[in-house]
């Protein structure tokens, strides 16, 4: 996991049985490798076939697309390292936006009240997923498939019940809209490049998640509950709390994404979000997270999200039909996972 800082501490105490590991070998042991190779290939490809791809303005568009996937892919990656799935993540984003919008519209005239209530309710949904999982011991696939459909139904049902249509009313004239928009959906200009604030959210989440994974006790526990939950429990790791915490992490990111949706588009389509959960899982898997848990990285998931950001916009710049994006998504998942599996086998054969 953290081979980077072994050498400076103890270069003299090397073991004679330990053959010198070349840089290439050490890189191959990293979970991010497959995604980095993939990202380089995709970047090269679109640089050649799509001329506008290399312009600075395109870069900011690509980064924005990557960040909207990436904000969710990071906590989903942590959850996968912890050995679980969350199929409800995609619609949870829309639920979070809907709650925020409707609470603001129906109860008060201040958007921040809605934002706050939405945070609490979304975290509660995450905790519900985690509690259900740890109490029933059913597979997370089933549990979150259940909450996925329940949330999809609730999103549509409540919106029609309250607003009479499938989308929410505008809240743009309310108090606090401008400040909330500044936090969740603004953009700043750096030189000639336009930076969406979601990119900052994304990078911050990657940094925090990487710190947690590699340098805190909780990170050690996340790897352990995914790698061997029984062993972890036997040495005193709070397995239940760790898993519930991971689901609440996904919920937190869903809240951030949801508020971004709300404050950039003002009105929310209640049927949106379905299918996005797979994007997050694919980004995490391409980034080197094992489907069986216990291995992976947040940085890898971020690179995975970047690949799909490049692909979704690159296809537009190349003036192809955007339908090809879906094909690309599937092919990329297979290729990257195969590459990851092959690399890991090579790296473990004799490190």
């Amino acid at each position: 996991m953290s081979r980077t800082e072994t050498s400076p501490a103890q270069p003299a105490k090397g073991d004679e049985r330990l053959l010198h590991r070349s840089l290439a070998r050490r890189l191959m042991g990293r979970p991010e490798l497959g995604s980095v190779v993939g990202a380089a290939a995709v970047f090269l490809f679109f640089s050649i076939v799509a001329e506008p791809f290399l312009q600075a303005s395109s870069l900011s568009t690509v980064l924005y697309a990557s960040s909207t996937i990436g904000i969710m892919a990071v906590p989903v990656a942590l959850l996968m390292i912890g050995g679980e799935f969350d199929l409800s993540a995609g619609v949870m984003v829309v639920s979070s936006a809907l709650i925020s919008s409707m609470v603001s519209y129906q109860m008060t005239a201040n958007t921040w009240v809605g934002v706050g209530v939405s945070l609490l309710v979304t975290l509660a949904i995450g905790a519900f997923n985690g509690l259900l999982l740890t109490r029933t011991k059913l597979p997370s696939f089933i549990i979150t498939l259940g909450t996925f459909f329940m949330l999809t139904g609730l999103n549509l049902g409540f919106t029609k019940l309250i607003d009479g249509t499938v989308s929410t009313k505008s809240i743009a004239d309310m108090e606090g809209f401008a400040s909330a928009r500044a936090l969740f959906a603004s953009h700043l200009t750096l030189g000639s490049v336009d930076i969406q604030i979601t990119i900052l959210w994304w990078l911050a989440l990657v940094a925090v998640a990487t710190w947690i994974l590699l340098r805190t006790r909780v990170g050690n526990w996340i790897f352990a509950v995914g790698g061997n939950a029984d062993a972890a429990r036997a040495v005193g790791v709070p397995v239940t709390k760790t898993k519930i915490g991971l689901y609440m992490g996904v919920a937190f990111a869903a809240w951030v994404s949801g508020q971004h949706l709300l404050f950039s588009y003002d009105a929310i389509q209640s049927g949106d979000g379905v299918g996005n959960e797979f994007l997050y899982i694919i980004a995490a898997a391409v980034g080197g997270c094992l489907m069986t848990g216990g291995f992976g990285s947040a940085i890898g998931a971020a690179v995975g999200a970047f690949i799909f950001g490049m692909a979704s916009k690159g296809i537009v710049y190349a003036q192809w039909n955007p339908d090809w994006y879906k094909f690309f998504l599937g092919a990329m998942l297979l290729l990257a996972t195969l590459l990851n599996a092959w690399v890991r086998k090579r790296a473990e054969e004799k490190a």
């Binding site: 081979r3 340098r215 790897f223 352990a224 062993a231 036997a234 040495v235 005193g236 216990g294 490190a351």
Partner: protein, 269 residues
């Protein structure tokens, strides 16, 4: 001298199944108590009671002379009882040093900058393993790449380092070859010499007799015998372990079927 752990007449029932009945066991500091028994004799149930995974239904369980009922593995650990399971001792994909400190990680710094003390973790893992006589090539390798014997040894070294007074070992040599078993038994003896009380669960009387100070035999959930080493020979232990008279019966049966008259195993009568 009071025993570190003492079980007296302990029983455990799962519904209407009698898993364990009237079993007594003493564990003293610097001694190895062996629990022997065939499959289904109740060895795992006994471990689970000592490790805090299950509560006993009858009898008394005393730690340091104080009667107790353990409610969780964490509580057992806090009372100084560390259990090393045969198959679930470690997380295979994690590096050795992360495994060594799993569940009891040291940290440095305060508030949001509180972090794992990685340097201490690495160095301690290396030196503690070396102290037990395990010279590891690289503490950064995933523990799954170690051999079964080495993994058991890391788990034992971990328990010793974290101040266990009682070490419970669940069939530490079961899946190992002859040489690897010898290595593990050496570390079991090293733990004993460090002053720990050891409970060694095994179905191999040869391994038990090599290191054990007292032997408890389990059979179908009940205690079939309890001996100090001075009271019993290896031959007698093996004979009792294998079921005594049952073994004679078995050898008799095997002798008759050496040249099967009815290869299908079906005797027309």
């Amino acid at each position: 001298m009071t025993a570190l752990v003492e079980l007296a007449d302990v029983s455990k029932y799962y519904g209407n199944v009698r898993a364990l009945e009237g079993v007594s066991l003493e564990v003293h500091a610097g001694e190895i108590s062996c629990v022997l028994g065939d499959n289904g004799a109740g060895k795992s149930t006994l471990i689970k009671i000592i490790a805090g995974l299950h509560r006993h239904d009858a009898g008394s369980f005393t730690i340091d002379g104080e009667e107790t009922t353990l409610s969780s593995p964490r509580e057992a650990l806090d009372r100084g009882i560390a259990t090393v399971y045969q198959d679930l001792a470690v997380v295979p994909l994690m590096p050795v040093w992360r495994n060594f400190f799993l569940g009891s990680e040291p940290t440095t710094g305060v508030g949001p900058f509180k972090r794992l003390d990685v340097r201490t973790m690495r160095e301690t893992t290396r030196s503690e393993l070396l102290r037990m006589g395990i010279d590891l090539r690289d503490v950064d390798q995933p523990i799954g790449t170690l051999s079964g014997g080495e993994r058991q040894c890391v788990a034992i070294a971990r328990a010793v380092y974290f101040g266990a007074k009682v070490l419970v070992l669940d069939e530490p040599t079961a899946a190992l070859g002859v040489k690897q078993s010898g290595v593990v038994l050496k570390y079991v003896a090293a733990a004993r010499d460090a002053g720990l009380g050891v409970v060694l669960i095994t179905h191999n009387p040869h391994h038990a007799y090599l290191v054990g100070d007292r032997f408890v035999l389990l059979k179908r959930g009940t205690m079939a015998g309890s001996h100090a080493k001075s009271e019993i020979t290896l031959e007698e232990l093996t004979r009792q372990m294998a079921g005594g008279s049952e073994l004679e019966q078995l050898s008799h049966e095997l002798a008759r079927t050496a040249t099967p008259e009815f290869p299908g195993g079906h005797r027309p009568d």
